[in-house]
Amino acid sequence: MNPTDSLVENPGRGPLGKDEMAAIVARDIPHGSYVNLGIGQPTRVADHLPDGSGVVLHTENGLLNMGPAAKPDEVDPDLTNAGKIPVTELPGAAYFHHADSFAMMRGGHLDVCVLGAFQVSATGDLANWHTGAPDAIPAVGGAMDLAIGAKKVFVMMSLFAKDGSPKLVRECGYPLTGLGCVDRVYTDLATFRLGPEGATVLETFGIGYDDLAARLDVPLAPANGAPR
C-alpha cells in the first residue's frame, strides 16, 4: 500500500499506461494474498507481481495457484482460466468444482480481487456487467459474486470514458454489479480509496490534485488532508 497513506502527487509522471497501472496494483497486493484477477485488463497484474510475492491466483472455474498463460506446447484443453484462455498450474495448485470455487469467494476467503469497470461511484458501487443498452445481451458471469465476495475489491480502469465523461461518479448510470463493494480504484490519472464518505485520492499521475478535483464531480478529499 501507499506507504505514508498521504497524498502523493506525480504531475510529471503519467497518465499511466495499462502496464504501469497494473504495476501499481501489483505493488499494493499484500504478500501471500489469495487473489482473483478479472478477465481483460486485470489479468496484466500477474505479469507485475514480483518474484517471491507469495501471491496465489484463483480462477473461478476451479483452480488455485494458477500459473501463466500456456505456451503453444503447453496448451491443455482441460486447463483454462475464466476467460477460457489456456493456462498452466504451479506447484501447490488445487482443483475444485464450481460451487466450491464460488463458496470460497462468497465466503470471504479471497483476499483481493481486481476487476474492470464501466463506472464506479465514490461510495464504492460498481457497474461492470451491462451497459443497459436495449439491444445488449446481458451476461454477468462471475462479476457479481466477485464484487461482493473478496475481502478487498480493487478496480482498474481509465478515469475517463472515450467520450470524456468521468467513470468515477456520484451515482452509477449503468446497471449495478454490487453495492458499496469497491475499496480502491486504480486509474491512469489517480488512485482512489473509496468509502461511505466518498473518494480519497492517494496518488495522482500526470495531473495535480486540484486539476483532478476540477474534472470530477464526486465527494473528494486528498489522503490525510482536510476535505476540500
Binding site: 480462477t59 473461478e60 472455474n61 476451479g62 483452480l63 491443455d76 484443453p77 482441460d78 486447463l79 483454462t80 477460457k84 498450474e89 482443483y95 475444485f96 468444482h97 464450481h98 460451487a99 470455487s101 464460488f102 463458496a103 469467494m105 462468497r106 458501487d125 451491462h130 439491444d135 445488449a136 445481451i137 446481458p138 451476461a139 454477468v140 458471469g141 462471475g142 462479476a143 457479481m144 459474486d145 461482493i148 465476495g149 446497471p175 449495478l176 454489479t177 454490487g178 453495492l179
Partner: protein
C-alpha cells in the same frame, strides 16, 4: 440403482422427453459433453430448458442444439461471447427466453437442489437488476436475496474416468460444473474418456460418487 454402462451416446440420452430441464456441464469447451449434446440433437427432444454456464459457442454442441430450435429457455451466467452468434440471433429475434444468473448463484442453486435445500439467502446481486422482485432479508446487518434451487430432469456432464460402478474423476478445470450438476438431476449421464474396472479408482480421489450417476458412456473425443 446400478449404473447403466452405455455402448454409445445415443443409448445414453435415450428417453429424454420434450419439455425437460437439461443441465449441461462445461465451462467453454472444458468439460463440455459434446457427444452427448450431439446425441440429444439426434434424439429429437424439444421445448427444452437448458441450464449451462454459457449459451453455446460456434456452430457445434450446445449452439447446434439451439440452432435446431429445440430450446425454449436458457438459464446461464454468460450467454454473450465472441462466438455465441447462434444464441445472439435467437435472442434478438425473440425466439429464446433467457434467465441470467450470477455464476456462483447458478452453481449454488444446483447444489441446493442436490442437497435438499428448499431455498437459501445469498448476498450476491443485492441491489442489482438480477435481484429485482426477489425476497430479501437482513441477517446480522447484511442484506441477502432469496434464491431457489435449480433441479434438472437430466444432467449431461463430461468427466475424465469412470469405474463400472459409476464413480467419476475429473481432470483439471474440466471439473467445473460437473460434480454439482451430478447431484441436481433425476437422471445423470456422464461421458468419459475411459471406463475402468470397479476397484481401479483410488476411493480417496473419487469426486462424484456413484450414487449420483445413472448412465456412463465412453466417447472417443476429448471430453
Amino acid at each position: 440403482m446400478t449404473v447403466q454402462v452405455c455402448t454409445d451416446a445415443d443409448e445414453a440420452v435415450a428417453g429424454i422427453s420434450d419439455g425437460s430441464t437439461v443441465l449441461v456441464g462445461g465451462f467453454g469447451m472444458a468439460g463440455m459433453p459434446v457427444e452427448l449434446i450431439d446425441a440429444l440433437i439426434r434424439q429429437g427432444a424439444s421445448d427444452l430448458t437448458v441450464v449451462s454456464n454459457n449459451a453455446g459457442n460456434g456452430d457445434t454442441g450446445l449452439a447446434a442444439l439451439l440452432a435446431k430450435g429445440r430450446v425454449r429457455r436458457v438459464v446461464c451466467s454468460f450467454p454473450r461471447q465472441s462466438d455465441s452468434w447462434v444464441f445472439d440471433r435467437l435472442y434478438r429475434e425473440g425466439r429464446i427466453q433467457l434467465e441470467v444468473v450470477p455464476q456462483g448463484t447458478l452453481a449454488e442453486r444446483m447444489r441446493a437442489a442436490g442437497a435438499g435445500i428448499g431455498a437459501f439467502f445469498c448476498p450476491t446481486g443485492v441491489g442489482t437488476p438480477l435481484a429485482e422482485g426477489k425476497e430479501t432479508r437482513e441477517i446480522d446487518g447484511r442484506t441477502y436475496v432469496l434464491e431457489y434451487p435449480i433441479k434438472g430432469d437430466v444432467a449431461l456432464i463430461g468427466a475424465h474416468t469412470a469405474d463400472r460402478m459409476g464413480n467419476l474423476v475429473y481432470r483439471k478445470t474440466a471439473r467445473n460444473f460437473g460434480p454439482v450438476m451430478a447431484t441436481a438431476a433425476t437422471t445423470v449421464v456422464a461421458q468419459v474418456r475411459d471406463i475402468v474396472e470397479t476397484g481401479a479408482l483410488d476411493p480417496e480421489t473419487v469426486v462424484t460418487p456413484s450414487i449420483y450417476v445413472d448412465r456412463i458412456v465412453r466417447t472417443e473425443v476429448a471430453v
